[in-house]
Symmetry: C2
Subunit: 410 residues, 2 copies
């Protein structure tokens, strides 16, 4: 990042006045000892904002958290991995409320001041009997250490995702800390994706809501791994004002800097989520320009980014621009085939809707790295959109073949 924003240590505990904790409950498998329940707690009152999955089938904790956020500012986030508590009927709400109510009591807070999240398998009852006995250890373990929280929300993630930054607003040092988990089902309009962000900036409620929406649109809503949309996606931002800056109001002083920083933190984690997607080997940015409209550009970007055949070809270092062009054609956007140009990592592959005659070896090189861009110019307008996506590997399919049976057999 640039000179105005410094990467710092500490994750969600880098901002002043935030503590975290995690314990192992054996939620997925009692025989395996791994952190699977975490807590983030603000010592001071906050203003909060959140974005939840748009899937109509949504998990019980998402319903409860959305309801809580309407009636109170959140002081803490409790989240488990290993079970999504989704498609679990009325018991699901009872269990989510047991998590939030239990931890609220121990913290001396109201149930509605807790945000509660779950991630993992869908349709299996949450083993609340393994969670409740651990709540007192969870609260007792609170400390200025964010990393345990980042570890506890991992599911099939292979790497912990944590970032924290500091920057200056009106002469005061302000901090943002964030953790995320991703892996499967990373998708437009979010994924089995959790992201918890803390900041010690003083921010008005209206500003935190607007800044969160803007940052999510620029980051998590522009990534896709497999085109599926999770029942549990949640982004939560808590701001406790301990940095002592003059409160940032909507479009007021410091708003631009704060929004820029929040967006960059989310984009950083969003890209890590894609590149750590299940059995992903490539991070690909699909950049569309020259579309008849912004919406048309988005249609083209999403069609290409989600095409199974296009993603297979990337996995094989195969510069198959013809498959890209065919996805452009069925995207629903207005397209003039003979106007389309396609660039692979900046190297022109197709022009006027046909091969640009570029040497095949050069094109193979262009798509052989772990990160590359695919540029698509429709050459008929000014609409632009870009999205981050991944390849599709045989190992992804192998990995996703038997999740339900494996859990049910235990």
């Amino acid at each position: 990042m640039d000179k105005e924003m410094n990467i710092i240590e500490g994750g969600v505990c880098a901002p002043k006045g935030f503590q975290a904790s995690a314990v192992a409950c054996g939620i997925k498998n009692p025989a395996v000892e791994r952190l699977d329940l975490m807590l983030i707690y603000s010592e001071f009152p906050t203003v909060g904002a959140a974005a939840y999955t748009q899937n109509q089938v949504c998990a019980a904790p998402v319903r409860l958290s959305a309801s809580n956020l309407k009636s109170a500012e959140p002081r803490a986030i409790i989240a488990n991995s290993g079970n999504a508590n989704a498609c679990t009927g009325p018991d699901g709400i009872v269990h989510a409320r047991a998590m939030s109510g239990g931890v609220a009591k121990l913290l001396g807070l109201k149930q509605r001041e807790i945000q509660v999240c779950s991630t993992g398998i869908i349709g299996v009852p949450l083993p609340i009997d393994r969670i409740e006995p651990k709540l007192s250890d969870l609260v007792a373990g609170l400390a200025y250490d964010g990393e345990v929280a980042a570890r506890a929300i991992m599911t099939s993630d292979t790497r912990m995702k944590e970032v924290s930054v500091s920057f200056s607003i009106g002469g005061k040092e302000v901090r943002i800390g964030a953790i995320a988990k991703g892996a499967g089902m990373i998708n437009p309009h979010m994924a089995t994706m959790l992201c918890f962000i803390t900041t010690d900036a003083a921010v008005s409620k209206a500003e935190i809501v607007a800044a969160t929406k803007e940052a999510v649109d620029k980051s998590f809503n522009r990534i896709t791994v497999d085109g599926d949309m999770s029942t549990n996606d949640t982004v939560i931002v808590l701001a406790n004002g301990q940095a002592g800056n003059k409160t940032i109001t909507r479009s007021g002083e410091g708003s631009a800097e704060f929004r820029e920083a929040l967006s960059r933190v989310m984009l950083c984690l969003a890209k890590r989520i894609v590149s750590d997607g299940e059995r992903v080997t490539k991070l690909v940015e699909v950049q569309v320009r020259g579309a008849a409209s912004h919406l048309d550009a988005e249609r083209v970007a999403r069609a290409v980014a989600n095409s199974k055949l296009v993603k297979c070809s990337w996995n094989g270092n195969d510069p198959n621009w013809g498959r890209i062009l065919h996805a452009v054609g069925y995207s629903g956007a207005r397209v003039k085939e003979e106007m389309v140009s396609i660039y692979l990592n900046g190297v022109i592959a197709a022009q006027h809707g046909r091969s640009a005659g570029t040497d095949g070896g050069k094109l193979i090189d262009a798509v052989s790295g772990a990160e590359f861009t695919v540029g698509i110019d429709l050459n008929i307008g000014k609409g632009e959109f870009s999205i981050y996506t991944s390849d599709l590997s045989p190992e992804y399919v192998e990995f996703n073949r038997t999740e339900y049976s494996a859990v049910r057999r235990k």
Copy 2:
């Protein structure tokens, strides 16, 4: 099929007055001797109808055939495999016209009386210099043998797809013969899919057009393998009237029987295309009912049938109804989670949006066969839709990783 319709031998040459032929041109690879150019010819005038890909990026032969069909009734179909002649610029049209014009001259027909099709890789110039010298052999080889044509259009198909039937209309024996190729990119609104159908029924132009549209909607537009839509999909139906029946007019005598037979022939081939899709191990019928509207039912069916995660689970015999329910949730259809029931091959897996408590072993058995149904009842209306789809295998991805590089390296 039932007693009114008999399966007969002969493929596209089963109906009276149709001949076929095929030759090897080495289109994909000059070193490999395999049939890759075919011709179907009616000895008598016909009425014809066709359905072409709706992809805005469409192959040169599709454009030429659509244009030809507007100005003349087709007497012959020429088709090659090994190269799609798509995304090939102005040369593509020149090459397609060389195929149709060349064969027309040899047959004593006009160019516009020829339908021309190509299937194979996109974006590589058609090697017309290997095709033109073989046209005279192709025409000289015409005979009452449909199988060679079925073989010559195969690409990654592992099985030839051919069916022919006879039935009675007004006391006269009428025949329909058909061949098809599918494999990759099988999709709603058709796929890299070719289907050529001949019939000796006497049918009016208006009836053949209406019957073809109806049959395509009931068959090829209800299959999906990978959600991609090809640049080359084409269904062509030729009727030459040699059965001697009283001409079937739109909604007139014999129309119901003819449409029923045509739809069943297409559905038979459509199902074979799915089950022979690239590295497919399962044929799954997704049946949606109880939706708020027909369109909502279709949205749900397509979302489930195209979900990568759902398809992975089927590959692993994994009764992961939670993934199905999450795809229902993001389909865009109106859904009340607590109303949804899901059946795996008739065995209830979820009720009221949560586990129905069915024994896991029973559910695994339900999805372990090579063919099964997935029933989804939204329980809020009367909308229904069903679609045929497949699983997604690691081998599919492996197979699709390097097509372009492999061809370009030759």
